[in-house]
Subunit: 427 residues, 2 copies
Amino acid sequence: MADLDVADLHGSLTDRALTSMNFLNEVANHYPDAISLAAGRPYEEFYALDDLHSYLDTFSRYLREELGYDEAGVRRAIFQYGRTKGIVHHLVARNLEIDEGITVDPEALVVTVGCQEAMLLVLRALRAGPSDVLLTVSPAYVGIIGAARLVDLPVLAVAGGNDGVDLDDLVAVVKKARAEGLRPRACYVMPDFANPTGLSLDLETRHRLLEIAAQEDLLLLEDNPYGLFPAEGVDRVPTLKALDTERRVVYLGSFAKTALPGARVGYVVADQTVAAPDGTIGLLADELSKIKSMVTVNTSAVAQAVIGGKLLANGCSLVSANHRERAIYAANLRAITDGLAARFPDGTLTWTVPSGGFFVVVTVPFAVDDALLEKSAQEYGVLWTPMGHFYDGDGPVHSLRLSCSAVTLEQIDAGLDRLAALIDDQL
Amino acid sequence: MADLDVADLHGSLTDRALTSMNFLNEVANHYPDAISLAAGRPYEEFYALDDLHSYLDTFSRYLREELGYDEAGVRRAIFQYGRTKGIVHHLVARNLEIDEGITVDPEALVVTVGCQEAMLLVLRALRAGPSDVLLTVSPAYVGIIGAARLVDLPVLAVAGGNDGVDLDDLVAVVKKARAEGLRPRACYVMPDFANPTGLSLDLETRHRLLEIAAQEDLLLLEDNPYGLFPAEGVDRVPTLKALDTERRVVYLGSFAKTALPGARVGYVVADQTVAAPDGTIGLLADELSKIKSMVTVNTSAVAQAVIGGKLLANGCSLVSANHRERAIYAANLRAITDGLAARFPDGTLTWTVPSGGFFVVVTVPFAVDDALLEKSAQEYGVLWTPMGHFYDGDGPVHSLRLSCSAVTLEQIDAGLDRLAALIDDQL
């Protein structure tokens, strides 16, 4: 007999949102020789161990020369417990100004253990009672659904449509929820080259989304891991946060794709004001910081120093730090869509042609499930992601996600040949 | 008008467990020149920036030479996303074998973002419904109460008494809770030189606690940040986990005091078996890992590499890595208790004489509250911690905690003079 029964543990542990990551990782680990058009991790050929040393040195020099720390102070900043909201907040604020045109008080930033912790902190703060619900544009990144499960926050899906978000559906979902006595707290959206759809919101849709958020008194949780990677010839569109004049947007930031995932450093901009019972007004960032003190205490100072050093080494611009990566992702994305067009000229399949990011969604004339992925891995040697993992429900889904970020052009070519063989055999 | 009202956010945000850390930090920041007999951070004079570089190099060499990684594999391990349960698990298992005589399957370990994340993961897993409760030996570390608040898990206090835990009270609390329809899931305890009491459980009490846990079908959450720091001439006592033959103990580990806090690396040993709905048996560690994937994804590989390097550089023994620190803490602890005896020979005060760790509790003949701490900081230039912060209630508390870890002998001497002046003025 086992010591414990999973039925006696938190309900999230048997929820698809939490088991699906595990399943996908297991398939990938079980078939290490399969070509992975599933992995969304960043391109790694430019990583160099020496960079870690130079980033640490650069950040130490910044503490000494720019902030005036003495040697003991530098050691204390990097080795000891630190400020809960982080120690690279000024550098992140500079980065947001330079790369995104977002002007933010560094005090409104919380540096987190990756963007995932930022999501958890925000959802934990917003879930005050059983009538609270979160809206997400659907299909959505698994991490936001999983974080919602951990704080017992139900998720209502808003149709993504062809524009990245169906604004009429958003209003309808909000009104229906309220009619049922529910309290929609926020809507999660990835406006730039979304995971998993690859879709982006155009400028007009962004403005209208902000208007609706104001009308309906909703917060928008803007997640932007891929914004720096537009396709060849595509211009970037301002983020919601850059357009936000009423503090409607909580901005979730990641350095995983633009610096390195191994640091696990992300952040949240939470400049919303919060009234305390005694009438004092503080920042949502400070409320998130209180929660963070009981989740991770603070983000590793060593890890922050690495990210701080990389920012400093690039004049705080990650656009300029990612010229080579951007070109590779753009070429790979193009290779996937061109490769699909070459292999499926007859219209049996459709696929998205994203204006940037890592992902292409392919729609096929049969249901795509985990069993088909296992078959694909074992018999065809190619990995991809069943789109069902990004929907908060169990209905059949006829599409799959391809990722261009962790492969070479040769692997894309071979991977698409294998995928085409699988698909032909299913038809 | 503010954008949000704290009354519409999660209840933990107005709870003393979460605001108390903030208050204590604010007082410390506001009076930087006060002598801190409050700070529980480790001694920092031996920290050296060069060590970071050598730890990273040592860990890279281990991946290459001991685990057989090629250069691309080493870069991938340190720069990319990694195994949710961590990448230094074999080294932590070796450390537990060498320093604690705990033999553990590395697969039963989850490497976490400090011990705080380990607590959160365990409490999140154990809180399945509204009848679940956590027991903690009281007074208790603020972090466990705070983590319980974040997952809406009520906390029942078990008297600590003079032996570190009052076993009769433990049984009584369990029985009373069950009679009320509650489900006690676990009891949190710090058996070695506890924060805040400084008390330790003797060997017999440990055996009896394990027996009671088995009788009452309770898990024990053993937290052990200070075990490596016994006082001069004191022998270490085996941990509960080392004595645990029935997988009753979930062991919470920290490298903050024994390596460096700035890495934010801790771990949990969760070797309990868990039955899944399909009848398969897994490890509690794997359930915790699923939750972790939605809290922080994985612990920073860079931070793990630093801790892994420090472990490797010391033959995986943190006992041998901490000879100098142990001697300093022992001398400082002695200086505090000797200093109190010299200043208060007449019996107006009492204090604990711990057999190790960082903390001495002083009981005074008047109530000790936050206002007195502020007065002490402002008028007397000495910081300490009101013991009320470690009780889950609001009653008056007549004691304060002194910490010996982040001060010199000279600062202890001057700090005690200032404390004596404050106390004399209160009498």
